[in-house]
């Protein structure tokens, strides 16, 4: 009993931290409709700033606290609101989510740049010199007591603000209906600003309270908040008291599991995954209110043509062949995963692009595929690729069934929780037996990945694998384009546009969702196999939730609905990084900021880069002259390169210049043609009357 009490008190002290962070999350969500993945990162940045002032520059603690909480945090909140989120306020959930993910990765990279991670930065707890309090058998430090007190004060303060003040009411109203708030004379932008300032202050408070008890480390502090998510979901992202209850449940659960979980090799991972499991369960069991932000504008999903897609698929394969001929082995290994990760990114297209379901666990699905291949195909038997597809698809269907009633940010969180459960528990399990079948996952280490054996040939050179992955990506892109044009594809888009209408018209939500989840998980699984082949051996580390975030980020930037997204994401994920590193090594700190910067630029092209690019290049593809000039010019450059007369730089620059020049030419030519088209009512006025015009008009009228 004494034990039980002690662990209870310990759990409550942990809970206080979750409560502070969780209430910050709830505040930003209820008032701006944005689920802020960068909440922890903002806290991290504040903790570093506080360290810099209080320890680095030796300011007195109260002064440093005031500077961070009252000046820096609000300024940062305003900046984020203005630069990052206002531009995407009216876009969909995926877009808003992506902005905070971009912010998260950017802040971590920036903090590692500014504060050398190898210097020790001791940060003592508050009142560390006082003797801890003894409550019965349990011991509570003053810092923990302070955290609990702050948590309670924050709760009371927030409740009063939101329910008893005019500003608070405006803030809540701004989420429900911004237009209406505007009509009543309030300023929705102001409400948003207040929310961001307060949210960032709470994040800062949480960061400063939590940093002294864990290491002052950029990534750790930023990613710590899964448990706080769980607390926030207990409060259904809107109720502060329930968030506090959730924090208490999570804190105590973690504490009791540490104290009472029996010791064996299968269970420690379960304890680490427990908050994520609880998050998943909470999402499933609690009723969710209507999702906010229905005033978003739905964008049409671009319709590819089969002919265009065949050309695109051919381009992918030719691209890989060119790369293989011009790059040396070292670069092939560096750029190799491009096409494999492209396949993983392609899996977002049917799922998120067509059906509008946000999934943050696609890389985990890829991990499942890789494990299946590694375990079943030590000699590269091709049928194992089908097995990898099937098992990943099964896993995808497994998430789809319980997640049926979730959408938007809730679905994103559920899939994130699923990914974390895989990372922390399933992927780290030793091999076990289930229903008489021996199942090995990563065998707690690395799994060797053999190259495939096709038609008697064994592919295991990096160059061969690269081309193989490119062929798979080409086939995948064709399949996805065919899906888009099929009946099922149109159904998925209907599902995205309105689930209610889809169900009313007799569509089965369950079937459609399970199918699309399974399909995209299967594609991701194949991508994982290809990725693993490139790496030769894989560990669970390559397929974590966190590793998957940048891929999701770039895929959204690329434009989720476009079939070309696979190639784009693969190229954009690896290309610029290696290219910049090779050309200008001193940029390496900036390189790490690239994904974040790309995310911030995304607001200007909310439909994504790929559709815009497609429109830009189409005139060139239509113009036979320009196309043959491009192919011919490129062939000459390539021959020069293969003959070692020019280097890769010249080849790359030459191709880019040639392509851009031809594109401009084709665009201007097409624009000129369009101008020649005079509206019918001006015939004979702006251009001379022609003999055939009369017949054209008559036929037009008759055809009516």
């Amino acid at each position: 009993m004494e034990q039980f009490l002690i662990f209870g008190v310990v759990g409550l002290s942990t809970a206080a931290v979750y409560a502070v962070i969780g209430s910050g999350l709830v505040l930003t969500y209820t008032t701006t409709g944005v689920f802020n993945f960068a909440h922890g990162a903002a806290g991290m940045l504040s903790a570093f700033a506080y360290w810099q002032l209080a320890v680095g520059w030796g300011w007195p603690v109260p002064l440093a606290l005031a500077a961070v909480l009252l000046v820096l945090a609000p300024a940062f909140g305003l900046l984020v609101e203005k630069v990052v989120l206002r531009p995407v306020q009216n876009l969909g959930e995926a877009e808003r989510l992506v902005m905070t993910v971009a912010l998260l990765s950017g802040l971590i990279a920036a903090a590692r740049w500014i504060w050398d991670p190898n210097l020790p930065r001791p940060l003592t707890t508050f009142f560390f010199e006082r003797r801890p309090l003894h409550i019965g058998p349990a011991v509570i430090t003053w810092h923990q007591a302070l955290t609990m007190a702050v948590a309670v004060l924050v709760a009371v303060g927030l409740w009063i603000l939101l329910n008893r003040t005019r500003t608070g009411t405006e803030m809540r109203a701004a989420v429900d209906d911004r237009a209406l708030v505007g009509l009543t004379g309030a300023d929705p932008v102001k409400a948003n600003r207040v929310a961001w300032v307060l949210g960032t202050q709470l994040a800062a408070l949480g960061g400063i309270l939590i940093a002294p008890t864990i290491a002052l480390d950029a990534a750790q502090l930023s990613l710590l908040i899964v448990s706080a998510y769980t607390a926030a979901i207990f409060g259904r992202l809107r109720s502060l008291p329930l968030t506090f209850l959730g924090a208490a449940v999570v804190g105590c659960m973690e504490s009791y599991l540490t104290g009472y979980l029996p010791q064996n090799q299968y269970l420690p991972g379960l304890r680490l995954a427990a908050p994520a499991l609880l998050l998943f369960l909470a999402l499933l069991l609690f009723p969710h209110g209507r999702l906010r932000g229905r005033d978003r504008k739905l964008r049409p999903v671009p319709t590819p043509t089969m002919r265009g897609t065949w050309i695109f698929a051919a381009v992918i394969v030719v691209f890989s062949l060119v790369l293989v001929t011009v790059l040396d082995e070292v670069d092939i290994i560096s750029y190799g995963p491009m096409f494999a990760l492209g396949v993983v990114a392609l899996s977002f297209v049917p799922l998120s692009g067509f059906a509008g379901q946000i999934s943050l666990c696609q890389l985990s699905m890829a991990g499942i595929g890789a494990v299946v291949w590694g375990q079943l195909a030590p000699d590269g038997q091709p049928w194992a690729l089908v097995a990898a597809f099937a098992v990943s698809a099964l896993a995808g269907a497994l998430i789809a069934v319980p997640a049926l009633r979730l959408s938007g940010v809730y679905l994103a969180l559920a899939t994130a929780a699923f990914a974390v459960v895989l990372d922390r528990w399933i992927f780290t399990l030793p091999s076990f037996e289930l229903l008489g079948v021996r199942i090995s996952v990563f065998n707690q280490g690395a799994v060797d990945m053999a190259g495939p054996r096709l038609l008697g040939f064994r592919l295991d050179e990096p160059a061969e694998l690269m081309v193989f992955a490119a062929v798979c990506l080409a086939l995948g892109s064709l399949a996805v384009a065919a899906l888009r044009l099929s009946r099922f594809g149109r159904r998925l888009i209907a599902l995205r546009d309105s689930e209610a209408a889809y169900a009313t018209l007799g569509g089965s939500l369950l079937v459609a969702r399970v199918l699309v989840f399974a399909l995209s998980a299967g594609i991701a699984g194949v991508g994982g196999v290809l990725y693993g082949m490139q790496l030769q051996s894989v560990t669970a580390d390559q397929f974590t939730f966190v590793a998957g975030l940048p891929i999701f980020l770039i895929a959204v930037i690329g434009g989720l609905g476009a079939v070309g997204n696979g190639l784009f994401t693969g190229t954009a994920y690896l290309g610029p990084i290696h290219l910049l590193n090779a050309v200008a090594p001193w940029t390496h700190n900036i390189v790490q900021l690239l994904p974040a910067l790309a995310g911030l630029g995304f607001a200007r092209h909310p439909e994504g880069i790929v559709p815009g690019q497609r429109r830009g290049w189409e005139p060139l593809a239509r113009s036979r002259v320009a196309l043959s000039a491009l192919i011919g010019g490129f062939a000459v450059l390539w021959l020069l390169r293969v003959g070692d007369l020019i280097g890769n730089t010249v080849l790359l620059l030459g191709t880019v210049v040639l392509a851009l020049a031809l594109r401009t030419w084709a665009q201007s030519k097409e624009a000129a043609d369009v101008k020649a088209e005079v509206p019918v009512e001006w015939w004979g006025v702006r251009r001379p009357w022609r003999a055939e015009d009369e017949e054209v008009l008559s036929r037009g009228i008759a055809g009516g």
Binding site: I210, S255, T258, H588
Partner: protein, 455 residues
Amino acid sequence: MRTKKTLAALLAVSLLAAGCGRSGSGDEETPDGGTPAAAADFGDLKGLCQPGDAKSKSAQGVGAEIQLGVFTDIGFTKKTEFVDAAEVFAKWCNEAGGINGRKLAPKTRDSKFMEVRQRMLESCREDFFIVGGGSALDAMGVKDRLNCLLPAFPAQASQMQNTGSDLQIETVAGGSSYSPYAGYYTWIIKEGYPGSAGSVGVISGDTPVTKVLEGQTKEMLTAAGAKISYSELYPTQGVSDWTPYAQAIKSKGVKGLVFLGDFASLAKLEQVLTNIDYKLDWIDANSNSYGPAFLQLAGPAVAAQNNLADLGGVFPLENAAQNPATQQVLDLFKKYAPDKQVTLQVVRAFVAWTLFAKSAASCGDDLTRKCVYEAALKETAWSGGGLQAPIDLSQLDAPQKCFNVEKATPEGWKPADFKPDTGAYRCDAPAYKFTADYGKPLTLADIGKSLSDFK
């Protein structure tokens, strides 16, 4: 040590780093020529570097200079240790004339954690030898290294496929099939703190790579007579509160604790343990924490808890004044890289560098990989001029004999009372061969080659 050194890097994984930049690669030493130099001694190695007129192109990467690959994860971990050691050693050696007149030209091979294969292939193409470095995920490069028959004297070898692999001489004591901690843990359990034997705990990070280490540690502890009463994982992506862990340690009455993780986390755990008034008999903080950073982070907990670390027979830095070789490393750093720190890894890198310098010098003008490798294999008591307890390089997979234990105090790390019997070391460690299977080092035979291919 072996694998533990990797931990810091592995645990610090922030996987958001989509690609980790390269920083300042290729610190090539340009021979400054001109001034005639006199041979220079390092520790008890007389005339380690010496002028001469060798300059024939006897092998790849050899000419007027000798190009050597130095592996590091600097682009990811931002730790400069191996690069610093290479720079300082090369500057000093080149000023003394180099190796028979050839200048050392260390070339940084920054594997940035994940790019081991790429750097290895580059090294295969350009370098004469690999010396004085190491990557955390070095298993990824072994196959390519053996394929191009590139020998290595690394400062650290971390993964199982690499430790003890062919064409590699590790100057860190202890062969790969033996526990490097046999002496250390046996001393702790049997002599130092026999009262703790009944209740030893192990906490390790949840990365798959740490699992091997955890298994080996538990096997060795059990063999030394300890009972593992507590075993726990922690998420390396961050623990929000160490109190439940500390409370569980207290409730279970754990007396000795092995912490396989980053020392920043250990520092926090110890602060909580201290807060709840629980003092363990000992905590194995491992040699990663050997340095001022851990002491700063742990603050008052250093005095309250008993932190131990096994340096595996490397002479402790704080007593450098008593050991000319260690003092010489400090002096060289003061002269050539005054703002860089001398760490345990730097000393280990120097042990490898001196081995290369001596072996290469013995080859004269006809400098080949085989000659250097075989000269090194003849060293039966290699101590890097006195930097560490001597080890026999002619037997690569032999148990470690000597160890030395350090203890953290508020004034700094100090040798613990472990009853040294040979100078600063204790050399009666029992041999313990692992019985469980943790993987095998890669051999030339595995890739269809043999020593006769090696030139």
